[in-house]
């Protein structure tokens, strides 16, 4: 049994030795030798854009940044408003100024009403204290 095994193994070894590495066909050799030229021309643009020194991990963020960059450029473009928008803005501004005028007038009259009496009284009291004749002249004036 052991002898049979050894014989079979030896026979297999001999047969294996006959199986040589096959020579690749010339067509394959030609295809393989064209690879550097073909790959260089195929990868021309991309190798210019991303040279070998460009880290691979940075590829994804670089690609993701492209649409953001385009959007930013579009948004930053100066834009001329349409005539309708100008007219609308003018009307809005007129309403705003009219409102501000109204508020200004009302505030002015409020200040005048509240502060005016107080100021007058304050000035009159001070003057009559230091210059009593003013009280007299005031009375004359009023009569």
């Amino acid at each position: 049994m052991n002898k049979d095994y050894e014989l079979a193994e030896a026979e297999l070894d001999v047969l294996m030795e006959q199986l040589t590495i096959e020579k690749a066909p010339a067509s394959l050799t030609r295809r393989l030798k064209r690879i550097p030229r073909e790959e260089r021309s195929r990868a021309g643009f991309w190798s210019w854009l991303f040279p070998d020194s460009f880290p691979r991990w940075a590829m994804a963020p670089a690609f993701a940044a492209v649409p953001l960059l385009v959007l930013a450029v579009v948004l930053m473009q100066p834009r001329q408003p349409s005539p309708a928008e100008v007219e609308q803005a003018r009307q809005d501004l007129a309403v705003a100024f009219a409102y501000m005028d109204k508020v200004g007038l009302r505030t002015g009259s409020e200040i005048k009403t509240v502060l005016g009496g107080e100021l007058r009284r304050g000035v009159k009291d001070t003057l009559s204290e230091h210059m009593p004749f003013t009280e007299q002249s005031h009375k004359e004036e009023t009569t």
């Binding site: 095994y5 079979a8 193994e9 026979e11 297999l12 047969l15 294996m16 006959q18 199986l19 040589t20 590495i21 096959e22 020579k23 690749a24 066909p25 067509s27 394959l28 050799t29 295809r31 393989l32 030798k33 690879i35 550097p36 790959e39 070998d52």
Partner: protein
């Protein structure tokens, strides 16, 4: 670098071709698989340890061939790799020729990874370490699988032995 690549082509194309032929049993597909493997070699040339070019290439060639096998329809007829042996050699006797042809067919009939193991170790004469690296196996696995593969081959040869 281009010159270095041509040197790799000269050195390894026959081995890649033989491995692809044994796995795919189809000359045209084997050519395509070899080309794909060498394109990958060109594209990764800077990241591969120059000492490990051969195992790397054999591994990529084998994986490419196995992918092609998986993509084939199960019913697809495979072209039998049975070239007439016209080269004169030590296998002169009819019986030896018959055995040689039978051995080729038997190797073709082995399942993976046995077939690649036999091709890489017994035909390409790669070291055990290199075979282990190509096939992603450890050394005991390589030895065990190779033993099983050779056992199958011996049994099949015994059927045609007079």
């Amino acid at each position: 670098m281009s010159r270095e690549f041509r040197q790799w082509v000269d050195e390894y194309q026959n081995q890649a071709w033989t491995l692809a032929r044994y796995i795919l049993k189809d000359a045209a597909e084997a050519e395509d698989a070899c080309q794909e493997a060498f394109v990958k070699l060109w594209n990764h040339r800077d990241s591969i340890d120059p000492e490990k070019i051969r195992p790397w290439l054999m591994r990529v060639t084998r994986n490419g061939c196995l992918d092609r096998l998986r993509r084939r329809r199960p019913t697809e007829e495979l072209q039998e790799w049975h070239q007439p042996d016209t080269t004169p050699g030590p296998m002169q006797g009819t019986h030896q020729k018959e055995l040689g042809a039978r051995l080729k067919r038997s190797i073709n009939g082995l399942k993976e990874p046995y077939r690649s193991l036999v091709v890489l170790r017994d035909i390409h004469q790669h070291s055990y370490e290199e075979v282990a690296a190509v096939l992603d196996l450890n050394m005991p696995q390589v030895k065990t699988y190779l033993h099983r593969a050779r056992k199958q081959l011996r049994e099949q040869l015994a059927e045609v032995r007079p």
